[in-house]
Structures are given as structure tokens and as C-alpha cells.
Symmetry: D2
Subunit: 118 residues, 4 copies
């Protein structure tokens, strides 16, 4: 039987990291959500003046910097999942189930109408 | 040998979802970062007027709504990882390695000084 | 008769600043909205680990840093208002007109129920 | 002598609006910054899947919706300026003074190098 939560090792490591520093006291869902949106902003900062096309072809150093921001977003999201008792992968799978019903492939194909309705 | 990327099944499902709708054309790193920050804002919206303490004790319906927003953030982050060719779990582990050096447990314990320096 | 747009001098100065550097080409509403949300994140960064109460009593240096981030948010908002042809003060007054109807003072008094409905 | 703060009437109206509902208790700088970034995300949502060019030519209904989101961002920014005791226009003018020194027109002309350094 597969591990029910493929992110369990990462969650555990982050929990121990915070516990060793006595930082769980700061990790309310509100604070973690603030931190997540701050990091999401730092991620977007790399792209704010680029065209779509330029954003698809980053120089290696910029790509590394973007990956580091993605890691920060992910870390806060995993810590939030611990604070909330939410299984991220399961929650994502359920959301995709829902989106498959909302946006049938044959009707949604090739235009961004869906996005305007979200 | 364990699967090198525990998120591979989710990545694959999201890729097929987008391909079936011909939506990869919209999934530039810039657009996905925009979408991610928008969803992060929707997540934070649930907490904006709550105290830290209230955010730790959500009613079940609100908790479900928060989990759904976390799923949206995660979905765009995974799609961005595909667009960028970044392994999220590996990037997070490397970032934690770095943070362990930056914030030794014995010095960081119990105050949020670290956070002010970030 | 009073000036219909009290922000006109600031708008004009920002327009000339961008024109002198040939930067209007980058100032699409999409890009300016990205830049605005990035700066809003930098603003929030100062508060992310503070309690509400701590955020009401900042040290002078931190208060200065927060004011500088508020200026950045405002600058992009004013530039966006130029790009969109929107009068910010007028748009705000109209929104307050609407909010006065939505949230009559006698019913909204003293609880944050309104905020949950927004 | 001109009014030292052209936003004073709007600040005053927003202050009275909040006082009449006993909402100032919720208006800590932290909460207002959260609300501001949430609204900035709602603003960006309108543009997230558009090209730069599309964002410059919005249909009238979409333009109205964007203006309403800009108003929300502005309202929270003005309320934050009250909570912090910051004069927004003055802070913006000081920031532009600084940017004129940082990015001399003759060197910054026509490329977005400046943006990458920010």
C-alpha cells in the first residue's frame, strides 16, 4: 500500500525545524498565509516586466532564483497544511475532480473563457 | 529506490488536464505566477480580519473553504514547476538545508528575530 | 471650482518620469497590476510575524520603511489609473457610496460580520 | 496656500464611515495590509490570462470591474495611511525624488534594466 501522503517526509522535517527553534508559536494559519502571499509576490517580481514569451526562456541564474522563490512558497504551504490538518495532495486531487466536471474538455478546448469565469 | 519525485502523479494529471483543453498556451511562468498570487490572496482573504488565535480555530465550513484555496495555490505551483522544470520537493529540501545554516537552532530559539531579517 | 482630480499633479509628474525614460512601453495594465501586488506583498512582509497590537506600535525606523512601501503601492496605483483613464478619488467615493448602502451603520456596528460577507 | 493633503476629504470620509460602524478596532496596520494585498490580487485576477496588449484594450464592463478593484485597493491604502499617520502624496513625492537620483533619465532610457535591479 503506498504512503497515503507523499509529502509526509517534508512535512515532518519542517515540523522538526520549527520545533527546534520554538517557532510554532508564530505559525498560526493567518501568519503562514501572510508569509505565503509575501513569497508569492517575490516570485512574481521576477516576471513583472517580462513578456509571456520572455518568461518562458529565463537565463540560468534567474531560473535558479525563481526556483528558490517557488521553494519558499511551497515551504509555507506545507507548513500551513500541517497547521490546518489538510492533506495537500488529496485536496488538489479533489479540486481537479471538480474542475473536470466544471470544464468539460470538449467545451473548454483552446480558449481562455474558463479563466474569465473563475 | 524510491520515486525521485513524489509529486510526479499529480504533475502528470495536471499536465493531461491542461493538454486536453489546449490550455498550455496560457501557462507561461508569468501567467502561472500571476494566478498563484491571486489564489494566495483568496486564501488570505479568509483570515484578514481574524486574530491569530481565531485563525487557529476555524469552523468546519470555513476550514473546508480554506483547504480548497490551498489546493488552488498548490495546483498552480505544481503547474509552474512543470513549466519551469523544477522539482518542488528537491527545491524545498535544498532551501531547508540553507535555512539550517542561516538560523542555527541554539541561536534562533523562541524569538522572531529571524523573521525580521528575512 | 475645485480641481476635479486632486491627484492630477502627482499623475503628471509620474507620467513625465516614465516618458523621460521611455518606460511607458512597459506600463500595460497587466504589468502595473503585477508590480502593485508585488509592492503590496513587500508592505505586508513588515507585518507578517507581528501581532495586531505590535503592528499598531512600530519603531520609527520600521515605520519609515512601511511608509516607503506604501509610497510604492501608491505610485503603481496612480500609474495604473493613468493607463486605465480612471479617476481614483472619484472611483473611491463611488465605492463608499455603495458600501454605505450595503452596510447600514445601525446593523453593522461593532462586529466583523460584514467582512466575512465581502 | 494649497491644502497640504489633497486626500484629506477622502481620509475624513473613510474615518467617519469606520467610526459609525465601530470598525476601527479591526483596522490595525497588519489587517489593513492583509486587506490591501487581497484586493490587489482581485485586481490582478482580471489580467492574469491576458496578454499585455489585451490588457490595454478592455471591454467597457471589464474596465468598470477593474476600476472598482482599484477603488478597493485605494480605500485600504488611505485607511492604512490614517492608521500609520503617513501622508501618501508626500511619501510618493519623496519616493520619486529618490527614483530620479537612482535612475537618471539619460542612462535608463528605453530598456527595462532598472526593473531587473529593483
Amino acid at each position: 500500500m503506498p504512503d497515503p501522503n507523499p509529502l509526509a517526509p517534508l512535512r515532518q522535517r519542517l515540523l522538526e525545524f520549527a520545533q527546534a527553534r520554538d517557532w510554532l508559536q508564530f505559525h498560526s494559519p493567518k501568519n503562514l498565509s501572510c508569509a505565503l502571499v509575501v513569497e508569492a509576490g517575490e516570485l512574481l517580481e521576477h516576471f513583472q516586466w517580462l513578456t509571456d514569451e520572455e518568461s518562458r526562456h529565463l537565463a540560468p541564474a534567474k531560473r535558479e532564483a525563481v526556483a528558490a522563490e517557488m521553494a519558499d512558497v511551497f515551504i509555507y504551504l506545507v507548513q500551513l497544511s500541517t497547521a490546518m490538518g489538510v492533506d495537500l495532495v488529496q485536496a488538489a486531487q479533489q479540486k481537479i475532480d471538480l474542475n473536470e466536471q466544471r470544464y468539460p474538455a470538449e467545451r473548454a478546448r483552446g480558449h481562455n473563457r474558463k479563466y474569465d469565469e473563475l
